[in-house]
């Protein structure tokens, strides 16, 4: 298990991370969410040892990653662009990683490159943005490391490459391996993530499995008829996503309030499917859209 324990990190006199903690269990896809500048990339870079934490620690099966970097043979970080590999040819990268990571799956690497129409003799810098990400994700997955950290894998990638990337990630996941994705592509994460970790102000504000989230939070469309007061919604457990006249679209985190509203015959209530984006808007301080 990959365990992140109360990580703190200060950069340029700014507290970027102030007590981040979460766990990644085998077989899980964990979505790391947060607005721009909340410390997602810093978090991933600290996990993998690029940055040293000011306090706290990262352990992989109980071993401190920063004290024993050898354990990183099971922990791979794929940044949002393979800038460091731009001087290499694709095949060279494969051979280099095969020397570094003992479980490197050369067949998977070569087959996947072929599938995407990439030649091993091509230079990484000659690839398009989308192809670069497909390539670096393939390289990372081919290490067969048990924990793979992906930083904004779909940033600047077109729709087709995005689909290919997601399919690649899903196909590569085994019951022993786990993936942590820092991303803004909430629609996709909705379908693939098992667990969501929300970073806010450098802290892990909330952690949910997607199943828990769907049980705890309801998305409702409520129509207030016959002069019913919308003041009922002025509560911390309610977030108004949209209001058009008497029609309110809300997120609600209270069963009691839901029952109370359901029993009120002046209201028309319809339950809508909850999306991660709705929840993210609420928890990350989105103001909603009132008309």
């Amino acid at each position: 298990m990959l365990r992140i324990e109360t990580i703190e990190k200060r950069i340029d006199n700014r507290q970027v991370l102030s007590g981040v903690s979460f766990e990644v269990e085998p077989g899980q896809i964990v979505g790391l969410l947060g607005r721009n500048g909340t410390g997602k990339t810093t978090m991933l870079r600290t996990i993998v040892g690029i940055y040293n934490p000011d306090s706290g620690k990262v352990t992989l099966d109980g071993i401190d990653v920063h004290a024993k970097p050898e354990v990183k043979r099971d922990l791979v970080f794929i940044p949002d662009a393979p800038t460091a590999l731009e001087g290499y040819k694709l095949g060279e990268c494969g051979r280099m990683f095969a020397r570094i990571y003992p479980n490197f799956d050369m067949d998977f690497f070569q087959d996947t490159l072929k599938q995407f129409g990439l030649a091993e003799g091509q230079k990484v810098r000659k690839l398009s943005k989308g192809m670069k990400m497909l390539f670096s994700t393939t390289l990372g997955l081919a290490t067969r490391a048990r924990y793979i950290l992906l930083d904004e894998p779909t940033n600047g990638v077109d729709v087709i490459a995005k689909k290919q990337l997601l399919a690649l990630i899903m196909e590569a996941l085994t019951p022993e391996s786990s993936i942590v994705i820092s991303t803004h592509m909430l629609h996709e994460l909705d379908r693939i993530a098992d667990k969501i970790v929300l970073l806010r102000d450098g802290k892990t504000d909330e952690q949910w499995t997607l199943e828990q989230l769907q049980q705890q939070v309801r998305k409702l469309q409520i129509v207030f008829t016959n002069g019913a007061s919308a003041q009922l919604l002025d509560q911390p457990c309610v977030h108004v996503l949209q209001q058009i006249g008497p029609v309110h679209t809300v997120l609600m985190e209270s069963e009691e309030l839901y029952s109370l509203l359901s029993d009120n015959n002046k209201l028309l209530i319809d339950e809508l499917p909850l999306t991660l984006e709705d929840w993210f808007m609420w928890k990350s301080g989105g103001d909603g859209d009132a008309a």
Partner: protein, 327 residues
């Protein structure tokens, strides 16, 4: 420990990164040493006894010790290889500060000590190989030129040994400077500072000791290692100490590198303070001497210049320190 050090993945990666410099150093070293004797050889082969070959003949007449006919050449070979080894250090560490190369290194399953030592060993290997291959080629040419019987081979080999140690220690200084520099420009700048700063100090101490009658500043030339890159008169003992100390300092500083500060002048916080203090004082020393010689000689003129220099230097370094440079 040994099998751990010789991890083939890390060695392959670092060798690939430095391979261009390996070729460049071999070629530059070739033109700095054996090329001259190869030219002489072909001149002799062609039967022409004139031209540049006359230099050899003249030297042979003037000195009895055959070894000294190659001393000037070896001396320029030494300077060339020192410059090349410093460029190699910049190539290995300064360039790594850009394009997220260091970030990539730190994400790999190796400790920072391990990464630094592998870089250092590869650098040593390149330096030794480029020197030894060219020296062996030169020896072959000296023998082919029928000058072998005149050479003092023992002195020659001792000189080569000292030269090797000196170049390796200079390279290690360059690597250590790289561990605290946050950009390519910073690495190059600080390397030049390390080479020329002792000369600058000598120049300013001369004025201060004369103006204020400070006797210990007059003995500047007697301080150990202050003119390391210029005199080259130190024996292997000094080079060995420099080598060991800079390896130790390099390992410690590389381990405490803050990759998040890449792009700044300095990536180790304590050296940021040293940079600010050093730059400010140096500016004071410079302006003190400048005002003393150009505008108002004497202690008052020096004092005014020194104070002004401190102020200007402090403001400048504070502004410079805020910059994040791309290269």
């Amino acid at each position: 420990m040994l099998p751990k050090i010789f991890d083939r993945g890390l060695w392959w990666k670092e060798l690939r990164q430095a391979r261009l410099m390996m070729v460049v150093m071999l070629i530059v070293g070739f033109f700095a040493l054996p090329y001259t004797h190869i030219r002489y050889y072909f001149i002799m082969e062609s039967g022409e006894i004139y031209g540049e070959l006359m230099h050899i003949v003249r030297d042979l007449k003037e000195t009895t010790a055959g070894f000294w006919i190659v001393e000037d050449l070896l001396s320029s070979f030494l300077s060339t290889m020192i410059v090349m080894s410093l460029i190699l250090a910049v190539y290995q560490l300064g360039l790594e500060r850009h394009g997220q190369k260091q970030e990539f290194n730190f994400s790999l399953p190796y400790s920072r000590n391990h990464i630094y030592l592998v870089k250092l060993f590869i650098g040593f290997g390149i330096v030794v190989a480029s020197i030894m291959i060219n020296v062996l080629l030169d020896i072959a040419m000296l023998i082919a030129l029928d000058l072998g019987f005149m050479m003092m081979w023992e002195s020659y080999l001792v000189y080569i040994g000292e030269l090797l140690l000196l170049v390796i220690s200079a390279y290690s200084i360059g690597m250590f400077v790289g561990t605290i520099s946050g950009t390519l420009i910073a690495h190059i700048t600080f390397t030049i500072v390390v080479i020329y700063y002792p000369e600058f100090l000598k120049w300013s101490f001369r004025t201060i000791s004369y103006l204020y009658n400070i006797s210990f500043l007059q003995m500047y030339n007697d301080y150990p290692l202050t003119t390391y890159f210029f005199d080259m008169k130190y024996d292997s003992y000094h080079s060995l100490i420099v080598l060991i100390v800079t390896i130790g300092l390099g390992v410690i500083h590389y381990r405490s590198n803050h990759a998040e500060y890449n792009g700044r002048w300095v990536v180790v916080p304590i050296w940021e303070k040293i940079l600010i203090i050093g730059f400010t004082i140096s500016s004071g020393l410079f302006f003190g001497v400048y005002v003393h010689y150009q505008h108002h000689s004497g202690t008052i003129g020096y004092g005014i210049g020194f104070g002004f220099g401190l102020l200007i230097g402090y403001v400048m370094i504070k502004l410079l320190n805020r910059l994040r440079v791309r290269f």
